[in-house]
């Protein structure tokens, strides 16, 4: 058996533009490191097994489930959480749209939904296909984000309150506002 002290390691994580040092065991997930060691409780723990998307954060611009990670393995990566989306006191357009369109009820899945939506629109603009994208018609910057595309691309984020209609409208608005 390894002793607790032996298991502790000093690492640093780049979170929301700031280099943060912490001392953790290798088994600590990025989700737990953010919440319990760095005081960033915006990222939520839902299922802790990659099934709900509440823990979604952006790493190097791409959305991932922070529960299925080891924090120690994410050194040197650029991590952005819900706390890092607002700039200079102004809400991120996606945050504002979620409020505008009532894209939540209890709010527990909301940080994950918003981070996921930000990552999703970036993927869509870059032309990444989804499971419903026809092979003959690749997506591009000029393609419409159909409801079918939006639902498929956001299927990794569950909302037990069922605020999906508002979430969809919020994402559509942000996509429309930023397109061309």
């Amino acid at each position: 058996m390894k002793s607790f002290q032996d298991g502790l390691q000093s690492i640093s994580l780049h979170v929301n533009g700031v280099e943060r040092s912490l001392t953790i065991e290798p088994r600590v997930s990025l989700l737990d490191a953010l919440r319990d060691h760095l005081g960033l409780q915006g990222t939520k723990k839902g299922c802790d097994q990659g099934a709900c998307g509440a823990c979604t954060v952006l790493v190097d611009g791409e959305r991932i489930n922070s529960c299925l990670t080891l924090a120690i393995a994410y050194q040197g990566r650029e991590i952005v959480t819900i706390e890092g989306l607002a700039k200079s006191g102004a809400l991120h357009p996606m945050q504002r749209a979620f409020i505008e369109h009532d894209g939540f009820q209890c709010g527990y899945c909301t940080p994950g939904q918003i981070c996921s939506a930000v990552g999703m629109l970036d993927e869509f603009r870059k032309g990444a296909p989804s499971g419903v994208t026809p092979l003959s018609k690749e997506n591009g910057a000029s393609s419409e984000l159909s409801d079918a595309e939006l639902r498929e691309r956001m299927s990794g984020n569950l909302c037990r309150c069922g605020a999906y209609v508002g979430i969809r409208d919020a994402i559509h608005e942000v996509y429309g506002a930023t397109r061309s």
Binding site: K2, Q9, P26, R63, I64, L68, I72, T133, R151, G156
Partner: protein
Amino acid sequence: MNNFTYSSATGTNSALKLFSESPDRNARFLAGGTNLIDLMREGIEQPESIVDITRLPLAEVRELPNGDLRVGAMVRNSHLAANALVRERYPMLSQAILMGASAQLRNMATTGGNLMQRTRCYYFYDGAAACNKRAPGSGCDAMEGFNRIHAILGASPQCIATHPSDMCVALAALDASVNITGPSGERRVAFSDFHRLPGDTPERDTNLEPGELITSIDLPAWSSGLHSTYRKVRDRASYAFALVSVAAALKVEGGIVREIRLALGGVAHKPWRASVAENFLRGKAATADNFAAAAAAELAPAIPRRHNGFKIELAKRTITLVLSELAADEGAMR
């Protein structure tokens, strides 16, 4: 989760060395982590050492001089699915990947890791249940339990678990090869020989030896005119494992099946290459009746359990539908 020693490898050789230095060689390579971290949290995997291989320089898709595509083991699922050459040449592979998991998971999961996924059998995950895969010799609670998601082909009295991957079903149909490196050197394994049927050793999912590492997957060049697709049938429209899935590629000339590749997911302990159906159809007329007869021949040895008998008919219908659609597409293109 038990604690462990963590190290990060910068190259293939250092990864193998770090693995071999682990006490009792009870180590695991960590790639995307989407399955391994979950299994460790559940106490099903309890490694003493984790060797992080995410920084290995194996994240490229490149074309080989012979026209094959070599996919590095660290290429993430989302990147492989979006790759223009994969989209163009092997549509069923891109579709299979995109119909698996969620966008977040596909951004994490790697090509090599996808092959190493373990079954999602409830009893495998439940430490209080009997499971020959998790605890050899303890029995199998799935046999008389809730076995709606379980295998109908190639199962054994020891285990009726299914392989969960979508991507691997397409790779089985593609005749891909797996490139492996390890303590005894490099070797290459046909995809159909990589995963195992349960037999008397259900604890072994694959023929990968301890300490061996997948470095890449080769996708063979295809003859022109071979059209492919992937169809997944599941309990909800997205983000669910397959009840039955079909990867199919078809080339029809003059109404006759010239080439066919067919593999099934959700029905067996490994991606199921439907060789019986392929052999039945090669050289025969591309008709719905023949497709249905081929599907019936493939599913003839299927053994249903209490809750999964529906998969037999579902597999037959899905095979027939997918092949009919591919044949119709070809007709429309002529």
